[in-house]
């Protein structure tokens, strides 16, 4: 085989009302076969009622080397959380 099979990422919606969630990946020639394979590989026991397949090459990911820069700054911003603010008990739930 000269050409290798493209890689696809598989997302499954467990049931209505929930978001599609990444389930894994697989190789397939095209989107039709990728969907079929995803059904066989990832939903043999009622794991979902809807499948998405996305070419892995179409996904843009954040740079792992910049994870600190990207995600650490939120760590010390505790004022973004409700527990940062003190409300007297008499006021009740807020």
């Amino acid at each position: 085989m000269t050409q290798s099979m493209p890689l696809w990422e598989v997302f499954i919606r467990p049931r209505n009302g929930l978001a599609h969630k990444h389930a894994g990946s697989l190789h397939a020639a095209d989107e039709v076969m990728a969907l079929q394979a995803a059904r066989d590989v990832y939903t043999r026991r009622g794991e979902g009622n809807s499948v998405w397949v996305v070419p892995s090459a179409a996904i843009t990911a954040s740079d792992p080397d910049q994870a600190g820069e990207n995600f650490e700054p939120t760590g010390d911003k505790i004022y973004r959380h409700p527990t940062f603010y003190e409300i007297p008990e008499e006021v009740g739930n807020m």
Partner: protein, 327 residues
């Protein structure tokens, strides 16, 4: 397994002590390692080898059971066996995907299996001579696989741990359907019971070998434990397996073929007889009864499927071109 008895992984690594120490701190803090994280080369290599062996074992493991699908004694048994074998194919695919996140390609792994460079669990180089063997495989071989795979759900490498969680959810049906087959035979006619006993006699020792060499002879075990790829040693898991399985055999009125098997009150487990490690290494090195057939069958499947893969790619290309022309 099918990877507890990891064969010949080389955890050697030559990063700076500081790098290794930082990495070890993450491992000790039970942080998961993801594919894009920095990791020692030895860690990566060990995982590629182990996950690859594990994946190959799932795929090759379909062959001995596939041998009985058309001869299953009832529709119920046939449907269950088909579903089990299909699951094993799925397990192979989850595992190949996990290995691919480490930068090895599916083609390379397939090539290594076919050339004999990559190993798979020695258990699948034994023949399935009777229907009882299908029961014994589910009971003992999948039973041993479960023993091994449950701790792998906590493996430090994220994609491997996640694949194992899926696999473990599916395995328990495998073991139960196997035990049910053996139970039916053991409670059947004297001939059927004899068939079950004969099968246990042939599979008991090879099942114990699935856990790999004794700890004292298992070269790379320590490093894998430190990196939390493995959580238990080969002997620890083997002991757990024996302790869990012997009462199950007793319930069936079958005799475990080990005259030295004895309950040891003090250690709270069974003592067992000597394992024939010469046989183990003979099979690992390619001289088991079925080694050649297994690889021949895998190669044939790959080669005979080549035209399908080529046609599918050509068809995909044609559709793509048509779509572009229509735009």
């Amino acid at each position: 397994m099918y990877s507890q008895g990891l064969i010949g992984a080389d955890g050697q690594t030559n990063e700076t002590p500081e790098f290794l120490e930082t990495f070890q701190k993450r491992i000790d803090a039970e942080e998961k390692v993801e594919p894009t994280d920095a990791m020692p080369e030895g860690y990566r290599r060990t995982l590629v080898r182990q996950i690859g062996q594990h994946a190959h074992s799932e795929i090759v493991g379909m062959l001995p059971e596939g041998n009985w699908i058309t001869r299953a004694p009832s529709l119920r048994r046939k449907a269950a066996l088909l579903a089990k074998v299909q699951d094993e194919g799925g397990h192979g695919l989850y595992l190949y995907s996990a290995a691919e996140t480490l930068g090895v390609s599916r083609e390379e792994m397939t090539e290594e299996l076919h050339s004999g460079k990559a190993k798979y669990s020695s258990i699948f180089n034994y023949p399935t001579l009777s229907w009882a063997d299908i029961g014994t495989i589910g009971w003992l071989v999948d039973g041993a696989a479960i023993m091994n795979q449950i701790p792998l759900c906590r493996c430090s490498f994220g994609p491997y741990a996640r694949a194992m969680i899926r696999v473990c959810k599916e395995e328990s049906f495998h073991q139960r359907q196997g035990y049910e087959i053996i139970m039916t035979l053991a409670q059947g006619t004297p001939e059927q019971k004899e068939m079950a006993q004969d099968s246990l006699n042939r599979w008991w020792w090879p099942s114990l070998m699935m856990f790999g060499p004794h700890d004292a002879d298992s070269e790379h075990s320590d490093q894998s434990m430190t990196w939390k790829i493995k959580r238990f040693t080969n002997d620890q898991l083997r002991q757990k397996f024996i302790d869990a399985t012997v009462p199950q055999a007793e319930y069936l009125g079958l005799k475990v073929p080990d005259p030295d098997l004895k309950w040891n009150e003090e250690k709270g487990g069974y003592d067992h007889g000597e394992i024939d490690w010469d046989e183990f290494w003979r099979v690992v090195k390619g001289h088991g009864r079925m080694n050649r057939d297994r690889i021949k069958d895998r190669r044939a499947a790959w080669e005979r499927g080549a035209w399908v893969r080529e046609a599918a790619l050509a068809h995909a290309e044609k559709r793509r071109a048509r779509k572009i022309a229509a735009e």
